[in-house]
C-alpha cells in the first residue's frame, strides 16, 4: 500500500517521484486558487487550524475533570461549552459526546465506515485508527485490540464500543489512575494519552516513586 513516500530518514521525496494522486493534489490546488474557488489564505488557515489541534487539548479537559467534579459534570452535560471554558474551540463539531470510563465500564470509539474522529479537539487521527484492521476488529474484537495496546480487562468490566456513524463525535474520559491524588493538573495531563481518549487503553499509571 503506497503511503507517505519518505526515505528512511524521513526526507520528502521530490515531487516527480510522488504517486499519481499525490501529484494531482498540487494541480488541483493550483487550479482552485487560480479560479478563486478557494484562496491561498484559506489553505494556510486550515493548515494552522490543524496544527493547533492535538491530544494536548483533550488531556487538559480530562485532567481538569479528574480534579474538579463540577467541571466534570459540565463536561459531560455540555462538552462544547466546557471546551470553550478551557479556550478550546470545538464549535465546528456538530455534536460532541463525552463517554466516562469507570471501574466497571470502559468505552472504545471507532468509525467502521470511514474514520470519523473528534478532529477539532484531538487533531488528526493516528494511522492505526484509520486502518482496515482497526475498523474491522474494534466492533467484534475490542478486547483483542485493547490487549494489543496493553489493556487487559476482566470479564466483569463492561466494554462498550461506539461506532460513530453519524455526526456525533465521541471522546472517552479515561479513569483517573490510582495513587495520583498528590499530582498537579500539569502532571496529570501527562498521563492522559491520545489512545486513552479513543479508549483502546487506560490512562498511564502514576510513575513509581523512588
Amino acid at each position: 500500500m503506497s503511503n507517505a513516500p519518505t526515505d528512511e530518514h524521513g526526507h520528502e521525496h521530490p515531487r516527480h517521484e510522488l504517486s499519481h494522486y499525490a501529484k494531482r493534489i498540487y494541480a488541483i490546488r493550483d487550479l482552485l486558487v487560480e479560479k478563486g474557488v478557494i484562496s491561498e489564505k484559506d489553505i494556510q488557515c486550515q493548515i494552522e487550524y490543524q496544527e493547533a489541534r492535538s491530544p494536548a487539548n483533550g488531556a487538559k479537559l480530562v485532567a481538569r475533570a479528574w480534579t474538579d467534579p463540577a467541571f466534570k459534570a459540565r463536561l459531560i452535560a455540555d462538552p462544547k461549552a466546557a471546551c470553550l471554558e478551557m479556550g478550546i474551540d470545538g464549535t465546528s463539531i456538530n455534536e460532541f459526546v463525552v463517554l466516562e470510563n469507570t471501574e466497571k465500564v470502559r468505552h472504545m470509539v471507532v468509525c467502521t465506515l470511514c474514520s470519523c474522529y473528534p478532529r477539532p479537539i484531538l487533531g488528526r487521527p493516528p494511522d492505526w485508527y484509520k486502518s482496515f484492521n482497526y475498523r474491522q476488529r474494534a466492533v467484534n474484537d475490542p478486547r483483542g485490540v485493547m490487549r494489543e495496546f496493553g489493556l487487559r480487562l476482566p470479564d466483569e468490566v463492561e466494554v462498550r464500543v461506539h461506532d460513530s456513524t453519524a455526526d456525533i463525535r465521541y471522546l472517552v474520559l479515561p479513569l483517573r489512575p490510582r495513587g495520583t491524588e498528590s499530582l498537579s493538573r500539569a502532571d496529570l495531563e501527562k498521563l492522559v494519552t491520545r489512545d486513552s481518549m479513543i479508549g483502546v487503553m487506560d490512562a498511564l499509571p502514576a510513575s513509581p516513586k523512588d
Partner: protein, 97 residues
C-alpha cells in the same frame, strides 16, 4: 417519516431493517437485521443519504444511539456484558417485539 420529536424513546426495543439499498448508507451491515434498544435520542439531523448526492437532506431524520448486546450481533460475546452502540437514523428502525 417523522421529522421532529421522534417516535422512539430510551429503553424502547428496536429492530434494524435488513435492507440492501443503493446509495450512501450510514447503517453498517453488521447491525442490519439485529435487535437492540434505544440508549439516547440525539435529535433531528439532515439525512446524509440525500446530502451525499447534493440534496438538502430534508426532511430531517431523528438520530438515535442504539445499543446491542455483542452476543446478539455476532452470536457470541467476548464477555457477557459487552455491547456495541451505533448511531442510527429512525427510518432504519422498527419497533421490536
Amino acid at each position: 417519516m417523522s421529522s421532529g420529536g421522534g417516535k422512539f424513546k430510551p429503553g424502547d426495543r428496536v429492530h434494524v431493517r435488513f435492507e440492501d439499498r443503493p446509495g450512501h448508507i450510514r447503517t453498517p451491515w453488521y447491525v442490519r437485521g439485529k435487535s437492540g434498544w434505544i440508549e439516547r435520542v440525539y435529535g433531528d439531523f439532515p439525512n446524509p443519504e440525500s446530502l451525499a448526492f447534493g440534496g438538502d437532506g430534508l426532511p430531517k431524520r431523528t438520530l438515535y444511539l442504539v445499543a446491542f448486546n455483542q452476543a446478539d450481533v455476532w452470536g457470541a460475546a467476548q464477555a457477557p456484558k459487552d455491547k456495541v452502540l451505533v448511531d442510527i437514523y429512525e427510518h432504519w428502525l422498527d419497533p421490536a417485539a
